[in-house]
């Protein structure tokens, strides 16, 4: 294959990839139907009679507190606060992972964006940016052709995102087809992609 033919082939592939991921008109409805079904409990819930009286928590009641009891309650509260603090520091990463594993489905604010880089000599290419905490291991691209086209599709929230590619785990490359982010704070330029308008 001549160089010209190869270039035309890559252009054809790139044109296809640029088309983005399209969904049919019923996609939203199908997703929301699944979400509603997933939210339903699998076992039936017993219907409880409606009580007219005030809820337990709001009923007034007399409480007698001895000094010893008050001290014990204070100690218990301190334990609870300390435990919650520990959760918010040492285990924060775990908590973040749990939250991130169940993102809200909102087709108005999340769009699928396709990133493409031609890097014929690369063994690995990954995408880094503010959407994956700049972690080079988080978002690897896959090679779609023998002649070095790498790609990945990623759902991104509406707004402005800064990103770059990392080739072979060490070489940082800005997207040659995208505008550069203002300033290269760390001596390595980034690129910008704006999804939709901007969050208000």
């Amino acid at each position: 294959m001549s160089e010209r033919e190869e270039r035309e082939l890559i252009e054809r592939i790139a044109r296809e990839l640029r088309q983005g991921v399209r969904f049919d008109a019923s996609f939203d409805e199908r997703v929301m139907t699944r979400v509603r079904l997933a939210g339903r409990p699998e076992t039936p819930v017993l219907v409880r009679p409606i009580r007219r009286e005030r809820p337990w928590l709001l009923r007034s009641r007399a409480v007698r507190v001895s000094p010893l009891g008050l001290a014990a309650a204070a100690g218990f509260a301190a334990l609870l606060v300390g435990g919650t603090r520990a959760l918010s520091t040492g285990d924060a990463a775990d908590a973040a992972r749990i939250v991130a594993s169940a993102p809200a489905i909102d087709t108005q604010t999340v769009r699928v964006v396709q990133f493409v880089l031609r890097a014929p000599d690369a063994s690995t290419v990954s995408l880094v940016g503010d959407f994956n905490e700049w972690d080079p291991r988080a978002t690897p691209l896959r090679a779609v052709a023998a002649n070095g086209v790498w790609t990945i599709s990623l759902p991104l929230e509406q707004g402005r995102h800064v990103y770059a590619f990392v080739v072979d785990g060490e070489q940082w490359v800005a997207d040659p087809q995208a505008p550069k982010a203002p300033g290269d704070d760390f001596g390595i330029p980034n690129s910008i992609v704006t999804v939709g308008g901007s969050r208000s």
Partner: protein
């Protein structure tokens, strides 16, 4: 104490449990990816931003970017501190009721060379609505090579004519198309602005049915190879 409402007591305890850890929250991502002194310095800036009511996540992400790029600790701290200052400048220019997105986009615009006066002008032209998209469009255009003054003046003029987010995005798309066709950045910007002011419908005018305005988000085409 003879009688108390259990609900009040429970609410007070719940508030204490929720608010105390939030105030003292340390970001585990910083300690995981930065050396001790750098993480502590960045955390102090993050805490200051939270106290000031500024967005703190951009500061954490900037530090993580520096860590991934193997930047020196002192450099990371300097960059994060500068960004903190730009977020503060942005909020001061856009007003105390500005949203996080506005403040963050304002900081990016300042970094791109947009003046504080321009930010104030945008807020004055859009006193009640958001200027997040306007700021984003200006910054994107500057990144594409449009002179700062041209981008700022044209977007400001569109806002004063009542343009909404869709018109601003259409303006940006028009410039990108003009540049893709070979026009210089300035010429493409001015041509798109002229089209916007003459032919583009203002935000309050309904678009002709069946011919929606073309926006970047509607094109389905990312800015990639």
């Amino acid at each position: 104490m003879s009688s108390v409402r259990v609900a009040s007591l429970a609410a007070a305890i719940a508030l204490a449990l929720v608010s105390t850890p939030l105030l003292a929250q340390r970001d585990a991502r910083l300690t995981a990816r930065l050396d001790g002194p750098t993480a502590a310095a960045v955390q102090a800036t993050v805490d200051a931003a939270r106290r000031d009511g500024l967005p703190s996540e951009p500061l954490v992400l900037k530090a993580l970017e520096g860590a991934s790029k193997s930047a020196r600790g002192s450099q990371i701290v300097a960059v994060v501190t500068r960004l903190h200052g730009q977020l503060g400048q942005s909020r001061a220019a856009l007003g105390p009721s500005s949203t996080e997105a506005e403040i963050m986009n304002g900081a990016s615009a300042i970094q791109a060379g947009v003046s504080i006066e321009t930010l104030r002008g945008l807020r004055a032209a859009q006193a009640r609505g958001s200027v997040a998209t306007a700021l984003s469009v200006i910054t994107d255009l500057v990144a594409r090579g449009v002179p700062v003054a041209t981008a700022a003046q044209n977007v400001l003029a569109l806002l004063r004519e009542g343009a909404g987010d869709e018109q601003l995005i259409a303006y940006r798309t028009g410039i990108e198309r003009g540049m893709a066709a070979g026009a210089p950045a300035s010429a493409a910007a001015n041509a798109a602005a002229a089209r916007g002011s003459r032919g583009g419908p203002p935000a309050s005018v309904p678009v002709t049915p069946g011919r929606p305005p073309r926006t970047q988000s509607g094109s389905g085409r990312p800015p990639t190879l």
